[in-house]
Each structure stands twice: as C-alpha cells, then as structure tokens.
Amino acid sequence: VEPWEPKLEPSPRAQYDLSGTRAALLLSVIRSRPGAKHDVEALGSLCQALNFKITLRTNPTAQAFQEEMVQFRECLDALSAPVSCALVALMAHGGPQGQLLGADGQEVQPEALVQELNRCRALWGCPKIFLLQACRGGHRDAGVGPTALSWFRRWLRASPTTPSHADVLEIYTDAQGSASRGPTAGSSDQADILMVYAAAEGCVAY
C-alpha cells in the first residue's frame, strides 16, 4: 500500500498546465466578408505553430455555429488523453445587440456558444479562449486627440458618456458559484474563460 501523501495544489502563481491536448475551433463566415480568408489563414497558422489541433468550418449558418460547438465539446469529452486548453474563434458579421450572424443571416448569441463549451467536462479547470471578430453595434469610434476634438465636443453635447472605449480592460474574477466537481473542486464554472472582442460593446469592428 502506497503511503498517503497530500496532493499539493499548484502555487497560485503557477501557470496553467498546457501539457495536454490543445484544441482550436475556427468558425468563420467568409461569404460577403472580403478579406476574411486572410484572418482564417493567419489564425490557422498561429494555432498550428502553438500546437493546437484545429477544426475549421467556413460559412456556418447560425444553427451550424451551435452544432459545431456541440460537436467540438463532445469530441473533447470523448478524448482519452487529457485536454489542457481550448481556443474558439468566432468570425462573422455582428448584429446591433452583439449577436453573430451566420452565413444564412440568422442570429446566434455568442454567450450561448460560450456556455456550451463551459459544459465540457474535459475542460474543467482548463483555460478556454474565445476570440470574437465581429461588430457589436454600429457606433464608430472617432477616438480622442487634436483631430478628433471637434467631433468630441459635438459628441459630448449629444451624449452623457465618454466616446472612446480605449483602455477598457475588464477583469472578471468572479468567484461565485459553488459547484464542487471535477478536478478543480470549489472553483466557479465561470472561471478560466478569456474572451476577447474585436470591438467594444456597441461598436463597429474593423
């Protein structure tokens, strides 16, 4: 009988362990988005260099966005080898309320896709990266600075909030939730998520 030894938790400063499988799902609507192929190529090449196993689907409909995510989750859960990280890139036109528009013009909520991956047992305690290249509304940010000053003054008269979204970094260290399950017992099911939007809320993504 092996003597019992306490299992040491990694130091809080320790990095995520990425020694297991890394998986990437790239969903891109390239129809009516000129140049979108360049993004697919750049991300594909980057993911390959970073040792991600890549699943690519172009021109998904709104329903296919959801289906691909379900399939991705199921594949990860079915793997016998440990999974250490997932990266999901969602690239499409965006609706005014932050929706993604599938190749069929129908809408899908990115939050629903995030929740789908959150259900992935293989990814409990592992980092989940979401890259969202899509408009989140129609506001065009003129920025601030000398050349934008006249626009800024006009804008201030019309709106009570600041026009530029520069330097917005929202860190959510949400510790709520009490699910004690899986390899990271005690952590929130909202933890370990990194979401990067190409634009601030309500703004056009270029």
Binding site: P34, A36, C85, A142, S164
Partner: protein, 66 residues
Amino acid sequence: RDEKGSDFIQTLAEVLRADPGGDLLELLTEVNRRVCELDVLGPDCPERRKACLEIRSSLRRPLCLQ
C-alpha cells in the same frame, strides 16, 4: 479587412508570433495598444476611426501558450 484581414486578428497573430511564450493577458494588452493606435479609413468611413478591444478574463493563473 478587405486587403489583409482584420486589425484584431492580424495584430494578434503578429504579437503572439513574436512572443509565443509570453503571458497571454499581457500580450493581449499589447495587441490592444497597437489596435488602438491604428487609424481606420475606408470607402464607407471617410473620417478617421478608432477601434478598441474588450478583454474579459476570469483566468485564475497566468496563461502562456508555449
């Protein structure tokens, strides 16, 4: 995007390729700095425009992809 892809994805690829072992949140801050510096001009956008990323993280540890 029409000619070379979107500012966000292209800058992300550029920054991560240059320092794949860096902390991802720090690298994303650098991506945002570069994207914010860009001026966007286009046929449907005759005036100078800006873009800015939004980064939401509930990561509990440093994340380095290499």
